[in-house]
């Protein structure tokens, strides 16, 4: 039973355009939502997070949107750069369990 789903295994965008990565979750009791970025042969790197009491958080080119009624999370990257090409994982956190639950990941390719 997958509690966190990233339904798009891959995404390709042109440099300078917007990249939108999506994530759906099933449990409305999560407290935080996070995005991680992973390059080949490296560990995941924390990118940005959002509390369940907010609907938007911005950090430079990265913005995370949370739609609690739809149980949907998205990451916007504007403008996209070739160095953004990586696998992106969304994750949910529950203060009750103290655990992260990850989606399957989306591979983003930004073409020059």
């Amino acid at each position: 039973d997958q509690q966190v789903k990233q339904n798009s295994p891959s995404l390709s965008v042109q440099e300078g355009r917007i990249s939108i990565l999506n994530c759906d979750y099933t449990n409305s009791m999560f407290d935080y939502f996070l995005w991680y970025k992973k390059y080949p042969a490296e560990g995941p790197t924390f990118l940005i997070s959002i509390s369940s009491i907010k609907d938007k958080n911005e950090d430079g080119r990265f913005t995370v949107f949370l739609n609690k009624s739809a149980k949907h999370l998205s990451l916007h990257i504007v403008p996209s750069q070739p160095g953004d090409s990586a696998v992106y994982f969304c994750a949910t956190y529950s203060g009750n369990t103290g655990k992260l639950i990850f989606g399957q990941g989306t591979t983003l390719q930004v073409k020059p």
């Binding site: 966190v4 407290d31 991680y36 042969a41 995941p44 655990k99 992260l100």
Partner: protein, 113 residues
């Protein structure tokens, strides 16, 4: 980058042999975690620790054990490795004040033949 190292970085072993992976941190963080990453599954929690000698099971703990005798070290042991344990293993840490944000090590690629 958080000070997390994993050893070895790569290992090839045979079915039935014991394997121990080590995670070492220099951040003095209370919480430590072991994950495995497999295609189509994202990262799945194996075991975690909330203090020295305090550990608990994660989502995919069967066939694995852990130990934490010091704050800085968290060991993952495969008592008798199987081919299904071929994977990439990541260690992560988090601080008690921001437990939701975990920082990951570089990973260990394990191949069980």
């Amino acid at each position: 980058d958080a000070g997390i190292t994993q050893s070895p970085r790569h290992k090839v072993t045979e079915t039935g042999t014991p394997v121990t992976l080590r995670c070492h941190q220099t951040e003095n963080h209370r919480y430590m975690y072991w994950y495995r990453q497999d295609p189509g599954h994202g990262l799945r929690l194996i075991h975690y620790s909330y203090g020295v000698k305090d550990t608990d099971k994660g989502e995919v703990s069967d066939g694995y054990s852990v130990s934490r005798s010091k704050t800085e070290d968290f060991l993952l042991t495969l008592e008798s490795a199987t081919s299904s344990q071929t994977s990439v293993y990541f260690c992560a840490i988090s601080d008690r004040l921001a437990r939701e944000t975990q920082y990951f090590g570089p990973g260990t690629r394990l191949l069980v033949l």
